[in-house]
């Protein structure tokens, strides 16, 4: 392993940019509300666009509403790309997504400042709507439906209207698609959003890939009845059935031990009154793993358990598919590079899956992909208490910078 580290980002400037962007959509509790396609999102995008232009990037909006800043390279080659998103959940933190975008920007600022020109063009991408539909990265990967009616945004707004509002062009959505001939590698820096690095005491996570995810709706139908007058043995209690399903999901995810996760996160009871035996329950199921076979096994076993639960509780249980995202492995040579670069910078690292969805997941569908994680304090994310220290942000950006420098040589 040859250590060629010559460049370091300006950590103070990076963290100042993180703080400046966090002013837009900041809530009273310190959280950030910058929902995709909201006024705050538009304002945030405009600030980043200005910074990109100031850093010497050519900025364009593709038809999916992705904002792409491009730095020309010495040679006529596919681009190296980095980036993430700046939209947030209703009360998110200032690092989720933002760090990846601003670290990419800081890499460009550093290269320009030091007069370093890469062989490859370098793109810094702000993906549209990572937190809800992932329309930006999905359009780029060619995995997005071109039919606006297929999207059901949480805020109820039509997808085409949203994309057009930020400068996209829904009718030409297919043109947002990129290939390996356009982008030879994509590397995303992101906060971990979990407690693995902190617990293990490591500084850098070398992401093995983004886990696949299956989402289902679990529909349980029993019979609503008076909670006082209906003897226990005459009940068809949908909540008792649901409780068994929740525990089955938990058991299948934990026994035998492994990396897979499975969650019932949402559950609605109907009629939901203290004095009525529950007649219906609608719940969610979310299963994730790096290995598709592990996901398929878990869901298969759950189906069998649900049939037994339905019979025992005199209810009807249905598993309705909602979402099926295949795992997206990171390119082994990028993983190796990130690990080497970390070691070269004197940073401890560990390999780990990304269990949250990211724009990198979709980018990995068509080109070499890698992800760099930095620790999240207490594992908190999607919350106003999300926190990563300025030093950790800077360390992540330095790993990103050096990784891109090495990939620039790798693909030459």
């Amino acid at each position: 392993m040859t250590l060629l580290q010559t460049l370091y980002v300006n950590g103070k400037r990076l963290n100042q940019s993180i703080d400046d962007l966090a002013q837009i959509g900041q809530l009273a509790n310190g959280g950030i509300c910058r929902l995709a396609f909201s006024a705050e999102d538009l304002q945030g995008r405009e600030l980043v666009r200005r910074w990109m232009v100031e850093a010497g990037l050519e900025v364009r909006i593709d038809t999916a509403g992705n904002m792409i800043g491009r730095l020309p390279g010495k040679l006529k080659l596919p681009a190296l790309a980095t980036g993430s998103h700046i939209d947030t959940v209703p009360c998110g933190g200032k690092f989720d997504g933002n760090l990846g975008v601003l670290a990419g920007l800081e890499v460009v600022r550093t290269l320009q400042e030091k007069g370093v020109t890469l062989n490859h063009p370098l793109e810094v991408i702000v993906f549209a709507d990572e937190e809800d539909t992932m329309i930006g990265s999905r359009a780029m990967a060619g995995t997005a439906s071109l039919n606006a009616a297929d999207y059901h945004r949480k805020d109820g707004r039509p997808m085409d209207e949203c994309v057009n509002q930020v400068g996209g062009n829904w009718l030409q959505l297919a043109q947002a698609r990129r290939t390996r001939q356009d982008i030879c590698a994509f590397v995303e820096l992101h906060v971990e959003q979990g407690g693995v690095l902190e617990t293990a005491g490591r500084q850098i996570g070398v992401v093995q890939g983004v886990v696949g995810m299956q989402r289902y709706r679990i529909d349980i139908t029993g019979r609503p009845n008076h909670a006082g007058t209906t003897p226990m043995d005459q009940r068809q209690d949908a909540l008792v059935a649901a409780a068994r399903v929740v525990l089955a999901v938990n058991r299948l995810a934990t026994q035998p031990p492994g990396d897979r996760v499975a969650t019932v996160g949402a559950l609605q009871v109907s009629p939901n009154a203290a004095n009525i035996v529950p007649g219906r329950v609608e719940a969610s199921l979310d299963v994730r793993d790096l290995d598709q076979a592990v996901i398929d096994d878990l869901v298969g076993n759950l189906r069998a358990e649900m049939a037994a639960i339905a019979e025992a509780t005199h209810t009807h249980i249905e598993l309705v598919p909602q979402l099926n995202v295949a795992p997206s492995p990171a390119a082994p040579h990028i993983q190796a590079t990130i690990a080497e670069v970390s070691a070269g910078l004197g940073l401890s690292s560990m390999s780990m899956p990304s269990r949250a969805g990211h724009d990198a997941l979709e980018m990995g569908r068509f080109t070499d992909m890698g992800m760099i994680f930095v620790p999240s304090e207490g594992g908190w994310s999607h919350s106003e208490v999300e926190y990563t220290t300025p030093e950790e942000c800077t360390q992540g950006a330095n790993v990103l910078l050096e990784t891109l420098l090495r990939l620039d040589r790798h693909y030459s």
Copy 2:
């Protein structure tokens, strides 16, 4: 046993009154929405008041908003009383409550028509707000709080305003209280609201008493976290804990077999999103039995199980008392009278607890109480499909009439 059956109600007239009252608040699906203190409730009370006056009753509204129709007796004695309520749940049936009021009215109509005067005065009572606060019967029993702020009506309206609106006088609520010197016995006819009579193939239920009820709120606090990034062994999943509690409640109510019922009918998950490990669950617990010790045992055992569940799931679980209603036994001599009268009328009967709350429960706190049940088709209640045949309604009213005639002699 001496059979002295001489009088029969006019079944056609009774069922016509049931249908006429059902016109008020009738929904498109055939259900009735006549929430207490609503415009529909006021309209229903006015119709019943008119019928009472036409039947020769002196009608007054007590300070709790109960409407009391009184037929003078031959002697200066405490009154015999019957009645029920005409308010409904948001989508109820036309028999729940209404049958008891209108059968009481039909008893009076029959007595008047036949020129029969009882020794005792006879009261037909329309209790205020049985379906929510039971303010009417509770004020009459002296068990109601006199502080309006203690009531939390589902519709959010202040209790005093509601009571005053129907002609009550909140500031004088204590005056609604009656004693054994005012009412020597109260008998309520009601639909069963369960499937016991139908399953057993009996026509009349001789109620042994109204079961006691304890209601709790179950508060479970875990830790909300990302459903993708939080490893299974680092979770504090409030819904997994809740599922164990739901199953514990169900098991404690069913093993060993018995008459008790326990229900988790309402359950809210927070934040309730497919991709977030549930951080908090708030659920309801409703436990009922005729025997206070059975209720206390079940809740005690559940507390112990909840402590173990909290420890195993790394959550905090609290049981917050909401309501504690002691069982209200029916007077043995009234039970015997109802059974004898049923046999005398050629009707099959069986003894059974009332597992639903009723105005009779509160009346039983201060005077001799009895209840007569007639079958509910399929056990349905609090639903638009609630149904009792006209013949069954008439049979119940005949049992009520003859029971009151015998009690008139019993207390002489």
